[in-house]
């Protein structure tokens, strides 16, 4: 897998929700890239802003209350955030497409799956009804749905969970996107089906060379399929690097905690331990490092200048091998601990 020529570059993206209860800063100046054929995994606890960040990339944020307050989303070098609505729409589907966690609610209940897939061709390419339908059937076949021709006439509720997610994938891949965003594509499925869906995604990625932006809580899956990892905490990227680097030698205490909290992954910490405390309320992010209240390595007293964990916001800075970065004042120490 190459990490050359990034197709999708997110730079300093910030998103906030303006709610009656105050401003929720769900995503703060995050950056990442996805290259051709590359798989980038976004990790992080529930509520850390993973979904919101990709919704902003897709331009499907619920607005109001959600607003992009800064940054750029470059697709093939073009900033989507400043592009016209028309241009943005032209990218959704053929450029970047997306699959969701719950395919049952993500598919429209009143249209047949064949129709919903064919709609991609009709809307973007003006394909004739008949040809679009044939193309849809072909796609269903490609995602290994048996009796594709007959099943094209079925409605979403007539499929099993795994088959529905295959439909979703077929729809997302209809126009050969350069990047596929998968937001917890297997969370709603049972374990054996999860593996099948991941296998399918990998197979399709091999065939098409698309970049894959994968959000998941399953570290095992990340370990298996991802090339690089972005770890998010409270709307910020706290660590990034290749899977091997991050998994075997984390440079952020939060990543360490994440690894130690999951049995399947062998990290530095040996004992299985959940991270103490709860993620912060994004309307009231703690000062300094957002993770400091839960951090076993925090330094609050007599900290070196600019490295006070409850005062100074740590920037995402290089550490260790080229391409790695961590947003911890003490990243070097964590790396070599």
């Amino acid at each position: 897998m190459t990490t050359s020529d990034p197709v999708l570059e997110v730079e300093d993206l910030s998103v906030e929700f303006r709610t009656p209860k105050g401003v929720v800063r769900a995503v703060n100046e995050i950056s990442y890239q996805v290259g051709t054929g590359e798989t980038l995994a976004i990790l992080g606890e529930s509520g850390s802003g993973k979904s919101v960040s990709v919704q902003a990339v897709m331009g499907i944020l619920d607005s109001p209350p959600g607003y992009v307050t800064g940054g750029r989303v470059l697709f093939e070098g073009r900033d989507l955030l400043t592009a016209s609505a028309e241009e943005q729409r032209a990218v959704r589907g053929p450029g970047i497409s997306m699959i969701f966690q719950d395919a049952l609610s993500a598919l429209n209940p009143v249209f047949t799956v064949g129709h919903q897939i064919a709609e991609m061709f009709r809307a973007h390419r003006g394909t004739s009804r008949k040809e679009a339908r044939e193309a849809a059937i072909e796609l269903l076949d490609r995602v290994h749905i048996p009796a594709a021709r007959r099943r094209a006439g079925s409605f979403p509720h007539q499929f099993s969970g795994g088959m529905r997610q295959r439909v979703m994938i077929a729809m997302a891949l209809a126009l050969d996107p350069k990047v596929l965003i998968a937001d917890e594509p297997t969370t709603a499925l049972d374990v054996t089906v999860q593996a099948q869906i991941m296998e399918l995604l990998q197979e399709l990625q091999r065939d098409t060379g698309m970049g894959l932006l994968l959000i998941t809580h399953d570290l095992g899956v990340v370990n298996e399929v991802a090339d690089r990892v972005v770890v998010m905490y409270a709307g910020r990227v706290v660590e990034t690097g290749t899977v091997d680097e991050v998994f075997t030698d984390p440079t952020h205490p939060y990543t360490e905690g994440l690894m130690a909290s999951v049995p399947a992954v062998e990290a530095k910490g040996t004992r299985l331990r959940p991270i103490v405390g709860t993620p912060p309320d994004l309307a009231r992010i703690p000062p300094g490092c957002a993770f400091h209240p839960r951090c076993p390595r925090r330094v609050l007293e007599n900290a070196p200048p600019g490295k006070d964990c409850d005062d100074d916001v740590p920037l995402l800075l290089p550490v260790g091998a080229p391409g790695r970065a961590s947003a911890c004042h003490y990243r070097e120490e964590v790396l070599h601990a």
Partner: protein, 307 residues
Amino acid sequence: MGRYIARRLLLTIPVLIGASFLIFAMVYALPGDPIRALAGDRPLSEAVQAQLRAEYNLDDPLWLQYVKYVGGLLQGDFGTDFSGRAVLDTIEQRLPVTAKLAAVAVFFEAVIGLVAGILAGIRRGSFFDNLVLVTTTLIVSIPVFVLGFVAQYLFGLRFPIFPTSGINEGLYSYLLPGLVLASLSLAYVARLTRTSLAENLRQDYVRTARAKGLKPSVVVGKHTLRNSLIPVVTYIGADVGSLMAGAIVTETIFNIPGLGRAVYDSVLRQEGAVVVGIVTLFVFFYIFFNLVVDVLYALLDPRIRYD
């Protein structure tokens, strides 16, 4: 589906029997003597009165009157009014009038209600949304007959745009009464459409539609609307039956010679056969349109199956 419909149709029989008996009993319980009322100031001879009583079975106990009535019904005889005119005749003559009025009302209900509801639902919180909210609240809280008289005064007398009474100007004379008849349902349809649309706009599949790069007009006009209209269409369908029954008030206010007006007049004259025949017909329409709605529902929402 066929079996379901057949079963539902069979079920209407006991309902119709029950409903007609209730109506029959209510007319029977009306105070006063219909024959004396018929006679008015000119006293009828005892003999004539007795003959009329016998002809209309008025001296029989309630249950026997009813049995005789149903017996007649089974032979296609709906009875006669006091002037000797067959009730079936009256129905045949007046049904088209009421049907036309109901059709005009449903048209207003659907078109105005839907358009207002959709616009309000898309622009929640806008001036138009608030306007719809206030107007519909107003309509719902005013009794129909008040609304009818106000409309009659405003658009018939003050600004004589529409005829105030009768059906002499063809379809044109149905517009104002149709609007009055539709008003309450129209307000409900607007509200229901708005709520349903707002609810569906929050659904995941709408986000998917946007992620597919579809035009906003397609995202809302096709994906969201199609789902939002399911409860609205079923409401409108079920409402057709209610509108026909609701015509009693409207037809009386606007003096429209339909079934509703006939019921009103017959109640005053205590003409049991007419009241029971027509009201039972209303009940039948009500049940029938509800059945139509259930079938429609299954057609609109593929998740619904009646097997």
